[in-house]
């Protein structure tokens, strides 16, 4: 089964729901359901919120999401933006053992992506940040 769909919108929080609905429909079409479908939505939300928050300090940029099914085995989500260079994967993990007083607010999003996805990769080409998130079927 060949599958490839993409969606490109302005990188603002108001568009989160549209992106999530889009990836939900794509993952469903590729056979994901229940807990795994939710994991896909979670990874996508976390990636997008980082872009919405940090990619365009001046505002007004775009973010593109492309969903592909490779060889019927890999559901690949490629999220790209033309914002400032930002390797999300270079951030260190939050201390998940810290107690309430010491627990930092923030930092969990990237951690979740790494935890729930089967593979995550970052690259930057021609001034474009590309985050690739893979879920095995």
């Amino acid at each position: 089964m060949h599958f490839m769909k993409s969606l490109e919108l302005t990188a603002i929080i108001e568009n989160l729901d549209q992106f999530i609905s889009f990836v939900h429909a794509c993952s469903e079409e590729c056979g994901f359901e229940g807990k795994r479908a939710m994991a896909i939505e979670l990874a996508v939300e976390e990636a997008l919120v980082n872009i919405f928050s940090y990619a365009y300090p001046e505002g007004g940029g775009q973010v593109k999401m492309c969903c592909t099914l490779n060889n019927g085995k890999e559901f690949v989500i490629e999220i790209s933006d033309e914002g400032i260079p930002f390797d999300v994967l270079s951030r260190s993990d939050p201390d998940t053992t810290a107690d309430i007083g010491d627990r930092a607010i923030g930092g969990l999003g990237i951690f979740f992506i790494k935890k729930v996805a089967d593979d995550v990769r970052y690259s930057r080409n021609n001034d474009i940040n590309i985050l690739t998130i893979v879920f095995l079927v």
């Binding site: 807990k35 939050p94 201390d95 998940t96 107690d99 969990l108």
Partner: protein
């Protein structure tokens, strides 16, 4: 996300249904902040109807918990769905925010 607030004998009971994501979580944080400012210190959050939570949702729970700690108050979570509980566990939040099987159980520890 929908919030339903009830004043119970031992705590304010907040029933959350829907999703706590980056779009909806600020509303949770704002509402809990408002209730705390009104002088309420003990909260039980019924999450039976919560289908999804992201780091934004966890963030708003943590912000609320930190505020309450400063006022010697408490926030307890009850009736988490399996997928939501897993998010709390992966993040380590399950060890810093009390999680109970039911609202009744949460109320007994207050």
């Amino acid at each position: 996300m929908e919030l339903n607030v009830k004043n119970e004998e031992k705590a304010v009971l907040v029933c959350v249904t829907g999703r706590m994501d980056a779009t909806s979580s600020p509303e949770f944080e704002k509402e809990l902040g408002r209730l705390i400012d009104e002088g309420n210190a003990n909260f039980v959050i019924d999450l039976a109807g919560l289908d999804y939570i992201s780091s934004s949702g966890l963030r708003s729970v943590l912000v609320t918990a930190k505020k309450l700690k400063g006022k010697n108050g408490q926030i307890l979570l009850a009736s988490l769905q399996a997928v939501v509980k897993e998010v709390f566990e992966i993040s380590g939040f399950s060890t810093i925010i009390p999680i109970h099987e039911s609202v009744e159980e949460a109320m007994t520890v207050l």
